[in-house]
């Protein structure tokens, strides 16, 4: 029971282990282990990159169509290109503040293969022309911090980081930075605020697009840990080999954390775009089926912020646009499976409570709205719900995210999907994300809410009597 390990998971036939090849290697986190194990030789990609021009390196990332793995799925090469020309310095901030409920992949990458991430940082820094890289690790991940600190110390000592890397004129410092517990800091502008020593409250984009005005208002590229961890493999192989995995619009692999009611929860590196949720749930390689004796009720395809999917959606592939069109998002590679024992109201409350607790408090609708949503749901669960509460809940939600909210189709009731993303009255998507479980649950399981709403004339509400 005690431990910090997750066993190595094999990839499917024909799918290379691009980022997870050292997960099962005992010393994969050391410099020696990084060089001698895994699906490529550690730091050989860096040597190759230093022979290219920075713009050629950027082109490769663009050609590979390496999609960001943090949640939004934006192509990294294009993001890099957003830095205004001739504005210096530029910074790279590595987003290792993994905290989206259901998500568990960056921590493994940082704990098991820190050099892979460091090499990825170096390649990006070379291509972009970064003055400094900040590796922002979630505060609660003490072990990841230790592994990265040790790896950086080794890499500095070996001349791989710092001044005149590998004897060239390429010099960059990578600084390990760590947070202190706030989900919202995973949002890139909040991450930047936090890195500047402030409260992690998001900035409005525009004008604060990090690529133009990021850390210290200098151009800043914020990349996810997994995104950068793809670079060493990419540069020690080729664009063609990379693009041979997955689909044209979603090439390569993704790390998926499959949790909840499956027989074999775990972290799996799967081909993007081609793998379906059904394969993920049922394959012996992956989930090995829904818990014995149970059946799928619903699942979250991309972390707590994603609207729910239902059995009708299991044959969709793990492809960003397809999932978006179906009313949800792939997000951060967090698939949470819920079987028929799950109480939809309780699950919904737990997710909404998360957003209420993690709201930074900057925008009125999110600060006040998420806590109000939580209170209404708690009231319903406690048996103090009123018949009007569901409409109230939906309207409060509408004031955070106006208009039709993304939701999966419901063929039985002849309801179409509303495609992703939601609209928002807030700066960042946290508030609107709180609406995902509400609309998903009420649309599909309205009766479960209604069953909990007790019809009474007078409902005591913490000292207040309210006529119903």
């Amino acid at each position: 029971m005690i431990g910090t390990t997750t066993p190595a998971m094999p990839t499917a036939p024909g799918v290379p282990a691009i980022v997870s090849s050292r997960f099962g290697v005992a010393d994969g986190h050391t410099l020696e282990g990084y060089r001698s194990s895994g699906s490529y030789e550690g730091y050989s990609a860096l040597r190759a990159v230093l022979e290219m021009s920075p713009s050629a390196a950027s082109e490769i990332v663009k050609d590979a169509s390496l999609l960001g793995r943090g949640g939004a799925g934006f192509p990294a090469g294009i993001k890099w290109g957003f830095c205004p020309a001739d504005v210096w310095p530029r910074y790279i901030v590595v987003n290792g503040d993994e905290s989206e409920p259901g998500t568990y992949k960056d921590r493994v990458l940082m704990e098991r293969d820190p050099h892979q991430l460091i090499e990825g940082c170096l390649i990006a820094a070379y291509a972009i022309g970064a003055a400094q890289v900040f590796l922002y690790v979630r505060g609660e991940m003490a072990h990841a911090q230790e592994r990265i600190a040790a790896a950086l110390n080794e890499a500095y000592a070996a001349g791989l980081v710092g001044r005149n890397i590998l004897g060239t004129d390429f010099s960059v410092d990578i600084v390990l930075h760590w947070g202190a517990g706030a989900y919202i800091v995973g949002e890139e502008t909040a991450l930047i605020e936090s890195l500047e020593g402030n409260r992690g409250m998001p900035r409005l984009k525009p004008p604060f697009f990090p690529a133009a005005k990021g850390v210290y208002l200098a151009p800043t590229i914020v990349n996810n840990v997994e995104t950068l961890s793809n670079l060493p493999w990419l540069f020690s192989h080729s664009v063609e080999e990379y693009r041979s995995v997955g689909t044209d619009s979603s090439p390569g692999t993704r790390l998926i954390a499959l949790s909840g009611h499956v027989e074999n929860p775990g972290i799996f590196e799967v081909a993007q775009g081609t793998t379906t949720f059904r394969e993920l749930f049922e394959s012996e390689l992956y989930g090995n089926g829904i818990r014995a004796g149970h059946e799928l009720k619903m699942f979250i395809p991309g972390g707590a912020s994603a609207p729910w999917f239902f059995p009708e959606q299991v044959d969709l592939p793990l492809e960003g646009r397809v999932v978006g069109g179906a009313g949800s998002m792939l997000g951060s590679g967090a698939v949470v499976v819920m079987d028929e024992t799950t109480d939809a109201v309780r699950a919904c409350l737990r997710l909404v409570r998360f957003f209420a607790r993690e709201s930074c408090g900057k925008c009125t609708p999110c600060r006040e709205g998420t806590t109000w949503e939580e209170k209404i749901l708690q009231r319903i669960l406690d048996g103090h719900g009123r018949p009007s509460d569901l409409e109230l809940l939906l309207d409060v939600a509408d004031n955070i995210s106006p208009g039709p909210y993304p939701v999966a189709s419901d063929p039985a009731n002849d309801l179409d999907a509303v495609p992703y993303p939601p609209r928002q009255t807030t700066i960042c998507p946290l508030g609107p994300s709180s609406v995902a479980p509400i609309t998903s649950a009420i649309r599909r399981f309205r009766h479960e809410f209604e069953d909990k709403i007790v019809q009474r004339d007078l409902i005591p509400v913490e000292g207040v009597s309210v006529d119903v």
Binding site: M1, T4, T6, S53, P54, D86, W88, P89, E98, S99, E100, P101, T103, Y104, D106, R107, Y126, G129, A131, R138, G139, M141, A142, H143, E146, A149, L152, N153, G159, G162, R163, D169, F170, S171, D173, H177, W178, A180, G181, A182, L195, E196, G197, N198, R199, Y216, A257, L258, S259, H261, I267, I300, A304, V336, T342, R346, A347, F354, R357, C360
Partner: protein, 212 residues
């Protein structure tokens, strides 16, 4: 209940030197203070403010935003039980209730012997290993009630002293960023176009010039 010790002040200056602007070191220095005292005291915040060049109110504003900073004394062990969705599905809430009964405190409370502070926490990125618990930010995976009892017993007996340091300690391995390997950490206004970028730009420009 104190300002940073001389050794920690020295470490603080080394941490500050890693950033283009001192204020960026606020969170790491608050961690340093919490590692020293077990919690973040007012005196420490005043000291951090002096070190990074801002007001104590600004340090408080930053520190209070983040859950890991405790502004009151906590137990030797912070027992954080995850109850978010993946853990909830596999008994996280029941595990928390069990912990409440065993320890005799509600979430946020500290046992009278000062050993444990119990917390009901959000997702700690161990979703495939649910239900998961952290003790002073060290992970314990797939815990049932009996496992939790054993964990508490082991913590009390000191059997886990090597695995779990006292509250406040995060990484016991630190980045060592001193010496002549440092490339160039200066304020942004002192930065110019990196040399390798300039070299390639000039190369490209001279090639263009030669072609035309």
């Amino acid at each position: 209940m104190a300002r940073l010790t001389p050794e920690n002040v020295e470490l603080a200056h080394r941490i500050i030197a890693r950033y283009p602007r001192p204020k960026s070191a606020t969170i790491p220095l608050c961690h340093l203070a919490q590692e020293q005292d077990g919690w973040l005291t007012d005196e420490a915040m005043v000291h951090v403010a002096e070190l990074v060049g801002c007001t104590p109110a600004e340090v408080l504003g930053t520190a209070s935003f983040y859950e890991m900073f405790k502004r009151h004394e906590t137990g030797r062990y912070c027992l954080n039980v995850c109850t978010n969705i993946s853990c909830q599905l596999l008994g996280g809430e029941e595990l928390l209730e069990h912990a409440e009964q065993v320890l005799g405190v509600r979430p946020g409370g500290t046992t009278s012997d000062g050993m444990f502070t119990l917390e009901d926490v959000e997702c700690i990125a161990a979703c495939t290993e649910a239900p998961a618990v952290q003790v002073n930010y060290r992970y314990f995976h797939r815990l049932g009630p009996d496992d939790l009892d054993q964990l508490i017993t082991d913590l009390r007996s000191g059997a886990l002293d090597d695995v779990v340091p006292h509250h406040g300690t995060l990484g016991r391995v630190h980045q060592d960023l001193d010496g002549d390997r440092i490339a160039n950490i200066t304020p942004p206004e002192a930065q110019t176009e990196p040399v390798w970028i300039r070299r390639h730009r000039e190369l490209a420009e001279s090639n263009d010039g030669g072609a035309s």
